[in-house]
Amino acid sequence: MEIDTLAVALARLAPNLTPGGTLTGEPRRLSGGASQETWAFEVAGPGGVTRPLILRRRPDGLPTDTSRTATLSTEAALIRAAGVAGAPVPNVPHVCTEEDGLGEAYVMDRVDGEALGKRIVRDAVFAGARPGLARQCGEVLAAIHAVPLEGLPPLSMSDAAAELDKYEAIYRTSNAHRPVFELAFKRLRRGSGPAPVRTLVHGDFRNGNLMIHPEAGLAAVLDWELSHIGDPAEDLGWLCVNSWRFGEYSKPVGGFGAYADLLAGYEMAGGAPIALERVLYWQTLGSLKWGVMCLIMYAAFASGADASVERAMIGRRVSETEIDLMNLLRRAP
């Protein structure tokens, strides 16, 4: 969406966000996901107090029905439900309707903190928060997994077998021949029995989608577009995939913590105990998924749909998942 059109629509929306409020300054497009647009903007109230906000919207020309991700109104409903369950999430003051002229979108309050994974694992300013983060992640995941499913908007259901089916189908159509992926699919099939319980699963709970505050630690869980119903261990395993440890490979939980702290936080907050083996299973599946995603992203380059050097180079990240997979699969199953 053009920034001028967007600014007009946000100016019209401003009084609904803050009574008597007006849009102040220019909305700014934040970098990030290609599947959603994220804009930062501010509304000034009559008392001179400025409210920092975020608009998240589906880009124009990206039809809802061909996307495998949840709709933005679903995403907003999940954020609100997770907040009620005690998970730290941004406040969502407004879900856009057609009259707003912003397309499929919602508005949230901006949360103070940092979401860039590399800074979170390395910067001195987060040194105080880091030791507690793995446990906090466990506690917050327990809250998310406790969200009552009744009353949630319809969500897709996906367990390990379904994830393997989906990603193996994508891998087969890519026409790539990667023996490490073949081995991983084969091994993971053996452990793909149905989940003992089915819960709300965030689906992309990893360092990079977590807003971290230097003092408070985990301040907000972002990016709910891959949420589904499934095996709660999926969220714990995904958080431990080496690709989101930003070089801190000896701290398996997000590059900042230990498995034991994650699992202890989860259980202390009432989560049904999850065995480390199950976390490692989903971590392995996570590396495999990320590897297949890198192949798909490269395919967009190969087809000419996205000729950027970034798309080309992401294909070379497949080998990152292969070394991680071999580190995990070197043992007998």
Partner: protein, 134 residues
């Protein structure tokens, strides 16, 4: 081999130019993309230095595993089929050793600073178990 300059020297010259003259002038997304471009050239350089030897090694290992020779590509396709069909057991030590060696070699070209490589070498040298023991 063509020399004066070699392809490696040409890549170095272009990288230096991008890094010293172009990168400082780039902003926002272009600043990020120029880093990606410089990384791409470094990958091409490493592949030029080691690619042929790595492929020859992989071919030798695969020929031993499969019991016959062939092009590296053909052997890799066959290996995939045999893993998928279960004709090679998925815990076969020679298979695991080959895949591990290939993964180490490839990440050495694509991303030699990647932590998974450090972890793999640590596992080899200490028979340690950071992944499972933590």
């Amino acid at each position: 081999m063509i020399t004066h300059p070699t392809s490696g020297e040409l890549l170095d010259a272009v990288s230096r130019f991008l890094e010293q003259q172009v990168a400082p002038q780039m902003k926002d997304r272009d600043a990020f993309l120029i880093r990606v471009a410089i990384n791409a050239l470094a990958t091409v350089k490493r592949e030029g230095e080691k690619g042929v030897a790595i492929e020859a090694d992989a071919r030798t290992r695969m020929a031993a595993l499969l019991g016959h020779d062939g092009t590296a590509d053909a052997l890799e396709v066959e290996l995939c089929d045999l893993i998928r069909s279960g004709q090679i057991p998925d815990d076969d030590p020679a298979l695991i050793a080959h895949l591990r060696a290939s993964a180490v070699a490839r990440i050495g070209i694509d991303q030699p600073g990647y932590s998974g490589l450090k972890a793999a070498l640590e596992i080899t040298s200490t028979a340690g178990d950071s992944e499972w023991a933590t």
